[in-house]
């Protein structure tokens, strides 16, 4: 057969046989649509049934008021690592940072830090003052805070800054031992306060700061920015709807394995007694000669820092406290030591804490009275970074929480017994998952929704757009200053965070199980002389 014949053959008249053969697969398509539609209906009904029964609402974040009006005039106290980050959250970056980020973005188009920063909403604030005892840091703050219309004033001491009529509010990002003295003075001077965690360094300061803030009209916020993370707002609802059953155990962890994570921060080459006001840095810390390592790596010594308890336990504690509102534990026992960074530091780098709440109860699926009480376990090492999950473990389900959220039914659940028996759900796939970076809430779609979750401390999502949670936390504080309202991590939450962290520190330093008397709001079994001895009076 040649080409001509072939074409003739192709062009031959279409007969009935051709039609039948060409449409041979049509019944398959019919079967496909019948099958897939009924499967969709079944899955959809199942999904709706589960979602309706659980009744979890992916909560919208609380509205934040307008930023209009005169700019809020800020004083920044401490422009180290965190202070610089907070300034960026407020909309102020140094030229050096912007240039470095520009170069990074050219090298790597995925690096969006500069464009994210430039796209950040204007919070209508102005940096009126900078206070830092290290000249290089103070200049950095002035550089970042300078705009066409404004150049920040450098104050040599925080007292001078607080006396100024040009300052409405202060952001405190100093070493921990300065948090309370500065925040108390600011509250007394009527300046609003945003203070980094741990809110205080010593036990007594915690009460003094509480009283000072209560006696003032200021807006006070502690820097636990994860309270802005949308997954936590959803998790609050999961707890409220008693999806998990009685929660008897919570585990949260810190796993780091790098020098920066172990507080071995860079020592600046320009650091010297001429560029650092050493006496002012020391403050209430024991008098020692000028020491660069103490200045830059202050977290390693009890005189200035609060160790893993104040630096990282506080974040995990507050992450859980904002879900369960469990408050201060009845007792705390902690162990640990310097096991991974034996460089002369005092503060443990491996640290385990058990906080007990014998009266904790948010609801149950079992007989009344059978369940009550909960332990919060915090476990940390600075010598391994295996990603251990944050888990809330209930009789009916386990919730894994980070920037995403997963709820797994428990095989022995009372509430989900029927669903498990009918294979409506299974224990290896989440029965509810929430991934804010995805386009919606996902229930019962199984393994495809399993992404690794981080702790939700860096970014969160608003309307599907990635936002810096520190920015949101600062924005909430500024909104309360302008429009009134209560910030999400105010003095009550800060008080609970600080006392709980100090109980863990006291336990590891005294070797005792530390008990809290909720009636007197005092730690029951540590004497003042013990506190004096360990420097936490």
């Amino acid at each position: 057969m040649n080409m001509e014949q072939s074409q003739q053959n192709n062009k031959k008249k279409i007969n009935r046989r051709d039609i039948v053969k060409s449409l041979a697969a049509l019944p398959v398509l019919g079967a496909f649509f019948i099958g897939s539609s009924s499967k969709k209906a079944k899955d959809g009904n199942l999904r709706d049934k589960i979602l309706n029964e659980l009744n979890i609402k992916a909560q919208a974040p609380p509205p934040v008021g307008s930023m209009a009006g005169d700019p809020v005039r800020l004083g920044i106290i401490g422009v180290g690592i965190r202070g610089t980050q907070l300034m960026r959250g407020l909309g102020f970056a140094t030229d050096d940072w912007k240039n470095t980020m520009k170069e990074n973005a050219l090298k790597n188009p995925k690096d969006k830090r500069l464009s994210d920063f430039l796209d950040q909403e204007n919070l209508n604030v102005k940096v009126s003052g900078i206070c830092d005892v290290f000249d290089v840091h103070a200049e950095r703050g002035i550089n970042a805070g300078t705009t066409d219309k404004n150049t920040p004033v450098r104050y040599r001491t925080y007292q001078e800054m607080l006396e100024s009529k040009d300052i409405d509010a202060v952001v405190i990002a100093t070493p921990d031992h300065w948090h309370a003295p500065m925040a108390i003075a600011a509250a007394k001077a009527g300046k609003h306060v945003y203070v980094e965690k741990c809110m205080t360094h010593k036990l007594k300061e915690t009460y003094d700061l509480y009283d000072a803030v209560k006696a003032s009209d200021i807006v006070f916020q502690v820097g636990h920015q994860h309270r802005q993370t949308q997954s936590f707002l959803t998790a609050q609802d999961i707890v409220k709807k008693n999806v998990l059953g009685h929660v008897s155990l919570i585990q949260a962890n810190t796993n780091r394995n790098d020098d920066n994570g172990a507080w071995q921060y860079k020592i600046h080459e320009k650091a010297s007694p001429q560029t650092i006001d050493w006496q002012q840095f020391l403050g209430n810390a024991p008098e020692i000669p000028f020491n660069k390592e103490h200045f830059f790596r202050w977290r390693k010594w009890w005189a200035y820092g609060t160790g893993l308890a104040g630096d990282l336990l506080t974040h995990d504690y507050d992450r859980i406290n904002c879900l369960l509102d469990m408050g201060i534990p009845k007792s705390v026992i902690a162990t640990g030591g310097v096991y991974t960074h034996r460089d002369g530091r005092e503060v443990p780098d491996v640290f385990q804490v058990a906080m007990d709440y014998p009266d904790f109860y948010v609801g149950s699926s079992q007989a009344a009275g059978k369940e009550k009480g909960m332990t919060f376990l915090y476990s940390a090492t600075l010598g391994n970074q295996y990603n251990r999950k944050t888990l809330l473990m209930g009789h009916d389900a386990t919730m894994e929480i980070g920037s995403s959220l997963f709820v797994y039914p428990d095989p022995r659940s009372t509430r989900y017994y029927d669903w498990l028996s009918n294979d409506m759900i299974n224990t290896s796939d989440p029965m509810y998952s929430y991934n804010p970076s995805s386009k919606g809430v996902d229930a019962v779609t199984g393994a495809t929704a399993k992404y690794f979750a981080d702790k939700g401390l860096m970014y969160t999502y608003r309307d599907g757009k990635r936002v810096d949670s520190t920015f949101l936390h600062l924005k909430e504080w500024l909104s309360c200053i302008r429009n009134g309202g209560k910030p999400s991590c105010g003095i009550e939450e800060g008080f609970q965070e600080a006392i709980s962290a100090h109980m863990a520190t006291l336990s590891v330093l005294t070797g005792k199980k530390i008990e809290y008397d909720a009636d007197t709001q005092r730690i029951a079994n540590v004497e003042d002389n013990e506190l004096m001895k360990i420097g936490l009076a």
Binding site: N9, K21, S22
Partner: protein, 183 residues
């Protein structure tokens, strides 16, 4: 005289067509499920990529706005390829597109030694996985086409069923006798 493809025996035609239809079914359902699930996105899968092409796939997931295009193209690609294979319409293009799509899936998560993915696969694979097998099966269908015999391509491009093989030096008559004897 040019040698053309021999006419399929009934069993060969049946099995090749069944293979075409079930691969089409698989594509179509993968596409439809994604279309029906508004929360679905390839972002997580792409972010989890491994192997030498991982930076490219991660870039697809992270470039703003691009993931929307990737998701849409993937969903509709799967659906159209599925329909093409089941109905046997524009099959050559459908098969090639299917091979390209499967090559993307394969290359983003190649089952190489040392690869470790967050998204678990349901079997054990080394170099060869189901994506690769499905891709090769499509390649087989490309060289053994059926859509002009059983499929809408028969109406578009004409019947391909009647073509016969002629050995270069044989006359059509001689060849017919030979095949008759063999059959």
């Amino acid at each position: 005289m040019k040698i053309k493809r021999p006419r399929y025996k009934t069993g060969q035609l049946a099995m090749l067509t069944v293979l075409r239809i079930i691969i089409g079914w698989h594509f179509l359902y993968e596409g439809i499920v994604k279309l029906w699930n508004p929360g679905w996105s390839a972002a997580g899968y792409l972010q989890d990529s491994g192997g030498v092409f991982a930076p490219f796939f991660k870039w697809l997931a992270s470039a703003p706005g691009l993931i929307y295009t990737v998701d849409t193209m993937n969903v509709w690609g799967l659906i159209l390829i599925g329909l093409s294979l089941i109905l046997g319409v524009l099959s050559r293009a459908g098969i090639l597109a299917g091979i390209v799509l499967l090559a993307f899936y394969y290359l983003s998560h190649p089952p190489i030694i040392g690869a470790d993915y967050a998204l678990p696969s349901e079997g054990s694979y080394l170099w060869v996985n189901k994506n690769l097998i499905e891709m090769i099966a499509l390649a087989v269908l490309y060289v053994f086409p059926t859509s002009r015999i059983l499929g809408l391509d028969r109406l578009i491009f004409g019947d391909d069923d009647e073509e016969e093989i002629f050995l270069t030096n044989d006359t059509p008559e001689a060849f017919s006798e030979k095949t008759l004897i063999e059959q």
